[in-house]
């Protein structure tokens, strides 16, 4: 990665005595695609608005190229934003929306024309110059919003849940499109979303946030495979999280059995959270299983079945391509690399139990996430 562009130092934000951001420390590199990921109210949009200059932090510093820019107003920052609901100007047509920033900067007319035309091509909206904004589809509006921001050639582009209002298919297309644009232009993207899949598939770096604090920073693979605590493990994908005890390096005991694992560096006999991803579990005949349980529910998901298995009263989610009837007894095997050990945290015991699992539950939480700030 190349040089550092933006740094947030001990950033604290309070509204009416309520702490929205709690001591955020974060840096952003040039040309990077970084995603702030978290549930609603976690502070990700607030962080973005502070970088954009629309909010002034209660304390802490925002540095741009090494200079403090806390008090620099938005119109003097080399940063542009794509807003959640696009915020296109309804009284202007597509061309004038995109040209807005250039006209404010009083660039020569032919240069404006050249750059707007070029941008229309990048976002595949050639021929739409004179359309009114309210005559465009959601995806087209989205692309105008991106073009309007990018045409100013900012050093950093801030995107605040830009795809939240689009339907699933369009969202997938736009994800690819955005990634392509980012790679083509080399502009730093700071992307805010509550959709973990979006975050993982697009980003160079993912920052997981909750309750105004950063929970984990890392590459998408690391975040997924090595979650730092129960919150991250649960928020990124599905996880079965169990109480265990780290007997020694590479040895963890849970469910009354000792398993071999790949983790080390814990205190002897330290109580830990054990994470097992549902797709990592191998189903075997009862006799060969480390553990034996009863199937209590089966949901068809297309690619696989989500089955809930009762192990001595604790219910696990297992993803499998084979059908297992409700009531049947199955055995499972856990390989050492499938077991991930985490230190206990404030989130321990809050996630990872599928006793009250239902297929609809997932969708409900996803919808609720749309209401971010």
């Amino acid at each position: 990665m190349s040089k550092e562009l933006i740094r947030l130092q001990n950033l604290v934000m309070e509204f009416d005595g309520e702490r929205i951001l709690d001591d955020i420390n974060l840096y952003f590199n040039d040309h990077e695609f970084l995603t702030l990921l978290g549930p609603s109210g976690c502070g990700k949009s607030t962080t973005l608005r502070i970088i954009g200059g629309f909010l002034t932090p209660t304390s802490g510093k925002v540095l741009f190229d090494g200079k403090v820019i806390n008090d620099v107003p938005p119109y003097k920052r080399q940063v542009n934003t794509v807003f959640q609901r696009y915020a296109l100007f309804p009284h202007l047509d597509v061309y004038d929306n995109i040209a807005f920033g250039l006209k404010v900067a009083k660039l020569p007319k032919d240069e404006i024309d050249r750059r707007v035309t070029e941008m229309l091509e990048i976002v595949s909206l050639k021929g739409y110059e004179n359309r009114r904004i309210d005559n465009l589809s959601g995806g087209q509006q989205q692309r105008v919003a991106i073009a309007r921001a990018l045409v100013n050639q900012p050093k950093v582009l801030l995107l605040d849940e830009p795809l939240a209002a689009l339907d699933l298919r369009l969202r997938k297309d736009m994800q690819n499109e955005l990634k392509r644009i980012q790679q083509a232009t080399g502009i730093t993207f700071i992307y805010v979303t509550h959709d973990q899949e979006e975050a993982l598939s697009m980003s160079d770096t993912v920052v997981v946030m909750d309750k105004g604090r950063i929970q984990q920073i890392g590459r998408p693979e690391d975040i997924y495979n090595e979650p730092k605590n129960a919150f991250v493990a649960d928020f990124i994908g599905e996880s079965n999280i169990l109480d265990g005890v780290m007997l020694a390096d590479y040895k963890v005991r849970f469910f009354g059995r000792t398993f071999v694992c790949v983790d080390k560096g814990f205190a002897p006999n330290e109580p830990v959270d054990v994470v097992i991803r549902p797709e990592d579990i191998d189903i075997v005949p009862q006799s060969e299983g480390h553990l034996v349980g009863t199937v209590t529910s089966v949901t068809f998901k297309g690619l696989n079945y989500d089955i809930i298995v009762d192990f001595r009263g604790f219910k696990w989610l297992i993803q499998t391509t084979d059908f297992h009837a409700v009531g049947s007894t199955i055995g499972i095997r856990l390989n050492p690399e499938d077991i991930h050990i985490m230190h206990k945290s404030e989130y321990s015991g809050m996630f990872g139990d599928y006793s009250s699992y239902s297929a609809e539950y997932d969708e409900l939480t996803e919808d609720a996430g749309d209401e971010e700030e």
Binding site: Y75, Q84, F89, D93, F100, N130, N152
Partner: protein, 636 residues
């Protein structure tokens, strides 16, 4: 159910619009009677555009409305943006505070503004006439502001806040963001706020009445004081035009709204060409320029020129104004004395004129109060002694109108008109044998067709003549007896009237009424069945209205010049022919319509006149007592 609803809706519309329809029809009527459509004419409109005075008033109204609308819209929009940026709790508080002036009764707003202006103007700035065009303008801006804020606020709240953020993100300073984005978004609110402010300002009477001086009067304020004569049909024409103006504005506003809504829901023609858009912008710009030029023009011409301004404060419709082929007396004066510009404003009762004067804050050079009011003004040192060297035409005033009871030494007043109070009756329905004196107003034979004075002084006067008391009695027992007498009259009365008498007597809805002789003559001219009777044996009121100069006058010499001008027999003659009241200048009769001059109604013989008596100024407590008794009679 649906059908009933529709019928109800139609009824409501009829109810709402019928008054306007009547007015519009009346403005095209050849006859003067609203109840009787004689034929179609545009003559009223021609008359209207020939009436310089009315047009001046209309221009005044438009000046105040346009300027106050422009200013209030600008400040209101800025204020709304400011309020919008407050924290939600503060915003609510401030919004309710700005809404209060709207719900506040106009009269309270008017009086408090007037007090403030007079206080600041006279006490703090030491100006004698604190109430001017500027105070009127400030008042209008003040009461227009909340309407603009109320219309702009919802648009700001509907607006996506991230639009301003987006503009700033793209390099706009907050001010640029406002002009380039916010302004476009809230424009419909601004326009509807401006239209509402304009209409409010145009038709305001109550507040304007209290805060305007006499040098700059708006249309509603002047029309309100038209009580000496019935409202002229050309005024209907003007109202029709005003109604149409407001109507067009409202329709335009609604069309704008509908178009804005349609843009949001239905997809219009996909592409608006650059040419169309340019045209629209040019048109809007041109319209704005025209408005600016008009208001600029109006401001420039509304300012009084560099010359003496003479403020004349008279009863409404009490000077010949050029209508009905009469002389336009004020124009004539201004032609003869070009260095003087007359500012003519009007009142509708002695008491209102008195309160305007005693409130202070205005400049008045000439007033024309009635006898008893002159006595009161003299006793309160509110009149300046006249310099009769400047009024040589005083020589024409008849001997019998000198050394009057209200001004025994002829120091403060010059008689303008005089008249009697008698009985007007309809010979078609009333047996002349019954008309023998004031008691005919109590005659049960004509129950339901009798009218009575709606003011205490004249009503009690009639009871006093009938009971044989002194008209200026201060004996409370006698006054109580008069009240009893008036109460006994109520069962036969149709109603208490002042101005309404013109319509009701001419239409023959009522048959008998007491009224001023001059007005009776006017009515007799309209309906030949009407006749006049003066109860000489019982006594009757003989009143004189005379010209005086109040202590707040600034141009005393010009005022005396004006009084002298009105005493010129030729002018007085032309003037009296129009007013129909009697002149105290016998010399003027040579220039008058001979029919009036020899009419016993206007000019009864000296012998008869000797039975008349005039009202004196009653002590404050007595006039209040009489007022109280009369209220009880009317309500009891």
């Amino acid at each position: 159910m649906k059908k009933t609803n529709r019928i109800l809706t139609i009824l409501i519309f009829i109810f709402l619009y019928i008054p306007m329809a009547v007015l519009i029809v009346a403005s095209f009527n050849t006859g003067k009677d609203i109840a009787n459509f004689e034929g179609f004419t545009l003559h009223r409109y021609v008359e209207l555009f020939q009436d310089a005075h009315l047009l001046q008033l209309l221009r005044n109204s438009l000046v105040v409305s346009i300027i106050s609308t422009v200013v209030a819209t600008t400040f209101g929009t800025v204020a709304a943006v400011g309020i919008h940026n407050l924290k939600p709790r503060m915003r609510k508080v401030v919004m309710s505070l700005t809404n209060i002036p709207m719900t506040n009764p106009d009269i309270v707003t008017g009086v408090s503004l007037s007090l403030l202006f007079v206080f600041v103007g006279t006490r703090m700035l030491g100006q004698r006439d604190a109430l001017t065009f500027w105070t009127l303008l400030i008042a209008h801006i003040t009461f227009n502001l909340p309407y603009v804020i109320l219309n702009v606020m919802p648009k700001l709240q509907q607006m996506d806040n991230s639009l301003t953020d987006a503009a700033m993100d793209l390099g706009c300073t907050p001010l640029q963001a406002f002009f380039k984005v916010t302004l476009h978004e809230i424009m419909p609110g601004i326009v509807s706020g401006a239209i509402m402010a304009f209409t409010m300002s145009l038709d305001d009477f109550v507040i304007s009445y209290f805060v305007s001086g006499l040098d700059f009067v708006t249309l509603p304020v002047e029309i309100y004081s038209y009580t000496k004569k019935p409202i002229q049909p050309k005024v209907y024409a003007m109202f029709t035009l005003l109604f149409l103006l407001i109507f067009v504005l409202m329709v335009a506003m609604n069309l704008l709204q509908i178009r804005a809504d349609r843009n949001k829901t239905v997809r219009r023609s996909k592409v608006e060409t650059k040419a169309m858009r340019t045209f629209r912008r040019v048109a809007a710009g041109a319209l704005a320029c025209v408005l600016l030029v008009i208001s600029g023009y109006l401001i420039f011409f509304a300012k009084p020129q560099e010359q003496i301004t003479l403020n004349v404060y008279n009863w409404g419709q009490y000077i010949a104004d050029g209508s009905d082929d009469s002389m336009e007396v004020i124009r004539e004066f201004e032609t003869r004395y070009p260095h003087i510009k007359v500012n003519y404003s009007t009142y509708d009762s002695n008491e209102i004129m008195y309160s305007k004067l005693s409130n202070g804050g205005i400049t008045v050079d000439v007033i024309i109060p009635s006898d008893y009011m002159i006595a009161r003004l003299i006793s309160e040192d509110m009149l300046l002694p006249l310099d009769f060297d400047n009024i040589p035409n005083y020589q024409y005033i008849d001997e019998s109108f000198r050394n009057t009871s209200y001004d025994p030494e002829n120091r403060y007043s010059v008689p303008y008109t005089w008249g009697t109070v008698g009985i007007l009756y309809n010979t078609k329905y009333v047996d002349e044998a019954d008309v023998t004196g004031w008691e005919v107003l109590w005659n049960e034979k004509y129950a339901g067709k009798i009218l009575m004075f709606g003011n205490s002084r004249d009503a009690f006067g009639i009871a006093q003549y009938l009971l044989g008391y002194d008209v200026n009695t201060t004996d409370k027992a006698e006054l109580q007896a008069c009240a009893d007498k008036l109460l006994a009259q109520k069962p036969v009365l149709q109603q208490y009237v002042m101005d309404e008498i013109f319509a009701t007597m001419q239409n023959e809805e009522a048959w008998i009424a007491p009224y001023y002789a001059g007005d009776c003559l006017t009515m007799m001219g309209e309906n030949e069945n009407l006749a006049f009777y003066l109860p000489e044996s019982q006594g009757f009121n003989l009143f004189i209205d005379a010209m005086c100069i109040p202590t707040c006058a600034k141009e005393k010499e010009a005022a005396e010049l004006f009084i002298n001008f009105l005493c010129d027999p030729e002018i007085a003659g032309a003037n009296m022919d129009w007013i129909c009241y009697s002149t105290p200048l016998s010399a003027a009769k040579d220039y008058m319509d001979p029919e009036t001059v020899f009419d016993p109604v206007s000019y009864p013989s000296d012998e008869i006149l000797a039975h008349g008596s005039s009202y004196a100024y009653l002590p404050e407590d007595i006039s209040r007592y009489v007022e109280g008794l009369f209220m009880e009679v009317r309500n009891g």
